[in-house]
């Protein structure tokens, strides 16, 4: 078959193969000719679920054929434009390997054999085991690991059952350090969407975050607004990212030295008095301590750590201060890197505090959400033990349950947890080193349930696999985020569920009723819940089925008023440059820089990131997105390629410092990666045999992360302290 490259590198235009099928008396019209007279398709509102950005969209169907999904023009997340992944959501429905029937495991431990079960039998098994765990150990001994909007159904079930051990990898494997660092400084973290006012910024600073490759819709749009408005873009990244290619200043930082750069920036701003000392919107705790602390961290000192010229450090500090508060110091998102990540976020937050950008136009706006009441159900029972009891002794300032703590207590005969409920999160490709633990858990736990749309790696460890229908076939909780423009968005089913797959709300209710928790599900259909909630805020399901999105007027200002002295939700009510909370918990009150480990001779920093075509490890089997990007490439600098005799386009295995080898991965030799680092997109190298498209394509970066750097403050799993070398060929 003639194939074409969707992405052509460096303009090498291949000659088109002139071979093809011969035309056998073709007289049918082309697709465009058919479309010219096609009547309008049916449009059903949805909220995209290909990533967490949750753009409101419209599903276009003709009968039971899904044509396309487009953005809802009324929605501020997407302004009518879905990203590459959201547009490819069509493939989530047509994925040839979707789970269509419940499965019950017949093997134990590493033996991943299953047989098909009826819903009745599968649910009865879950109910019987959950009842037994509650009776023999207590319901608090069941934990849940969840992700996404549908997680609310499972969380509701598990809380009603009597456990609060419900964790999302989004905390300890992703955003946790960022949110903790900003929370300790401003009394508030960041949400989705991040409240970065890039459309009004005069300067945008990205530190290791790669907007453009990370395709969070309104972030991309407002970042490009910044470009259109001639904002000064400063990008700190060892790699020449897409964002770096748009920047006036690209700082090619040595990996792991961000805190040194941040301390030097703070040094310059304090030493040169580049902040507005009279601005009353900033009341600081510990300005003098900070000034004394950073006195030694000159740009010349930072040069030795970061490799960034002192003059460049001064110039960029002056640039971001000159236009403050219209400076977005982007907090990033995935931030579990080097184990000192909360302190890295603290350094960013301190800098943001000095620049006075919190609550200011062109800096961080103040988000607001709709006051949407929850559907009335009985109060949850108080769990006999809490996730906090297990977590806080290890990670005193963890503000949310920590997945790794739960998993460390979920295997072996004496484990605290006896059962595990996993919803829509693929732990084997999310948490480094988890496969061994999952194998043990699969042997020793009384119950592991996995609810998923596809036979992802995690389902292999479950006792019972419950097939959920895709987001295009179900109602889910209303979208109601803290954001610029308070709004509610509806996900409604556009198509009937494929096979025997069922919505998450149905699964939760069925289990709940079977374990005596029916009063927590006092409705027949989840539509009743949504309609009740919508009626409390002056609309209805019928209206929302037409519009998909409803925007509400703001009740609070989006920026602080001039001259206003805000109170922050910190112990002192001020912006805490110096953190007594950290000090009292035994940590550094001001961020300490620790020199990261350098790669051993012949090894390279293993850096990873996102691609615009995929979300985490959840879309590689989507047949639409698979075609755009079937495998990941490892980016290798030409000097490294020459040294190892590696050709562009060839396959290699990556071997880490502990001798662990990756699956084979194709090489992209490029100047765009730092000579001491390689880079690859996370989420590839699937091992689940049921994922026919994704299986075996590319390398899984998380399989190479045998050294995890735990953040002692909140429990994050730092993944950047690993190094790789190359083995040619690959199996």
């Amino acid at each position: 078959m003639q194939r074409r490259d969707f992405i052509r590198l460096s303009s090498a235009v291949a000659s088109t193969a002139l071979l093809g099928p011969s035309l056998a008396g073709c007289s049918q019209p082309a697709e465009w000719q058919r479309l010219m007279t096609e009547p309008p398709a049916t449009e059903t509102p949805t909220v995209c679920n290909i990533c967490f950005w949750s753009c409101a969209a419209k599903v276009h169907t003709r009968g039971e054929r899904l044509w396309k999904i487009t953005g809802n023009p009324e929605d501020s997340h997407c302004e009518g434009r879905l990203c590459t992944r959201g547009t490819g959501g069509v493939g989530a429905y047509y994925d040839p390997n979707r789970l269509l029937k419940p499965l019950v495991r017949v093997g134990k431990g590493a033996d991943q054999r299953f047989e098909v079960a009826s819903w009745d039998n599968a649910l009865a098994l879950v109910a019987e085991r959950m009842t037994r765990i509650a009776r023999e150990h207590g319901p608090d001994r069941m934990a849940a690991l969840v992700h996404g909007p549908g997680a609310a159904h499972i969380s509701h079930l598990v809380r009603a059952y009597g456990s609060d051990s419900i964790a999302e990898p989004a905390f300890a494997q992703c955003r946790g350090p960022r949110d903790t660092g900003f929370y300790l400084t401003f009394g508030q973290g960041f949400g989705s969407p991040e409240q970065t006012d890039m459309a009004n910024a005069r300067c945008i600073v990205l530190i290791g975050t790669h907007i453009g490759e990370n395709l969070h819709n309104s972030q991309v749009r407002t970042f490009t607004d910044g470009i259109r408005n001639d904002a000064t873009i400063i990008v700190v990244d060892p790699r020449f990212s897409v964002a770096a290619s748009k920047a006036r200043y690209w700082l090619q930082i040595r990996p792991g030295t961000d805190i040194a750069l941040l301390l030097a920036w703070i040094h310059v701003i304090l030493a040169e008095q580049l902040y507005d000392a009279d601005d009353v919107s900033r009341t600081f705790l510990g300005l003098d301590s900070l000034a004394a602390y950073v006195a030694a961290f000159t740009p010349e000192w930072a040069y030795g750590e970061t490799g960034i010229e002192p003059q460049q450090i001064r110039e960029t500090a002056r640039t971001m201060a000159a236009v403050a508060p219209a400076t977005v110091l982007h907090p990033g998102r995935h931030s579990t890197w080097w184990g000192d990540d909360t302190q890295r976020a603290r350094a960013m937050a301190i800098l943001a505090g000095l620049l006075g950008i919190w609550g200011r136009k062109g800096g961080y706006y103040l988000p607001e959400k709709v006051a949407l009441p929850g559907y009335p159900t009985p109060a949850y029972p108080k769990p006999k033990s809490s996730w906090r009891d297990l977590t806080l002794p290890h990670f005193p300032l963890a503000g949310a349950p920590v997945t790794n703590v739960i998993m460390d207590n979920a295997y072996g005969k004496d484990a605290h947890y006896k059962g595990l409920f996993v919803y829509d999160t693929n732990l084997p490709m999310t948490m480094p080193g988890i496969r061994r633990i999952l194998e043990e858990a699969a042997r020793s736990l009384d119950l592991i349930v996995a609810v998923d749309v596809q036979p992802a790696e995690i389902t292999g460890y479950a006792d019972v696999v419950l097939p959920e229908c895709s987001y295009l076939e179900r109602y889910d909780p209303l979208r109601n985020n803290d954001e610029r423009e308070p709004s509610i968005a509806l996900r409604a089913p556009a198509l009937p569920p494929r096979g025997e797959s069922k919505p998450g709300w149905w699964i939760a209710k069925q289990i709940g009723e079977r374990i005596g928790l029916g009063t927590y599900f006092p409705w027949k259909d989840y539509q009743e819940v949504i309609d009740w909630q919508l009626r409390q805020v002056g609309t209805s399901l019928a209206e929302m089925r037409k519009t998909g999105v409803k925007i509400f007027p703001r009740k609070t200002p989006i920026y602080y008023a001039p001259g206003e002295t805000p109170t922050f939700d910190t112990p002192s009510g001020k912006i805490e440059l110096y953190s007594k909370t950290l000090e009292d918990a035994g940590f550094d009150a001001l961020p300490r820089y620790t020199r990261p480990k350098a790669p051993p001779e012949g090894f390279y920093h293993l850096n990873y990131g996102r691609a615009p075509q995929h979300s985490f490890s959840r879309t590689q089997n989507n047949p639409v997105l698979y075609q755009l990007m079937p495998e990941n490439l490892v980016w290798i600098h030409p000097t490294a390629a020459r040294r190892f005799g590696i050709r562009n386009g060839s396959y290699v295995e990556l071997v880490n410092q502990d001798g662990i080898a990756s699956n084979k991965v194709r090489v992209r030799v490029t100047e765009r990666t730092r000579p001491d680092s390689v880079w690859l997109v996370h989420g590839f190298g699937h091992t689940a045999p049921g994922l026919f498209l994704a299986h075996g394509n590319g390398a899984d970066d998380s399989s190479l992360m045998t050294r995890v750097l735990y953040d002692p403050i909140m429990g994050g799993t730092g993944m950047r302290g690993n190094f790789v070398t190359f083995r040619k060929g690959g199996a």
Binding site: L9, E31, K68, V242, T670
Partner: protein, 180 residues
Amino acid sequence: MPHYAMVIDTRTCIGCTDCVDACRMENSVPEGLCYDWVVEITQGRYPELKTEFRSERCNHCSHATCVAACPTGASQYWNGSNIVVVDATICTGCKACIAACPYDARLIMQPQGYIGKCTFCVHRVQYGEDPACVATCPAHAMHFGLLDDPTSNVSRLLAGREHYVLAPETGNEPNVFYLR
């Protein structure tokens, strides 16, 4: 004679291939094929680098060699405009247009065998809508409109910004413009 043009801002294009994806969905493009594609050009040595992304497709040339080369008249201008389409009912799949196109923008449809290409989403343009790629671009880097209307967004963008076209030497007068 409406003169349609596409203007793509390389300053804001992030190379995300959403244009490719949206086109493939909108036009039900068969597996493995595409009517538009994204080119990345990186120049220089680390750290003195420059990268440009370009979303490419049929240029809907004012003097289209593919239309001239077609022996049956299947390759034709739509409705007196510069939008080049292929009437599959009279296309013999002879591939003369493929040889004549300077942009490698035509392909053999599978399994039918007629020649497929970007239509500027003429089925949308007929109702005054933008092509699917333009309508979805999350970076708002793509623009579509009438070149013969000096007040159109494409005319204003071209008047105000430095720009270029691909293979101008062919004399085809392409109508996809790239802002520097």
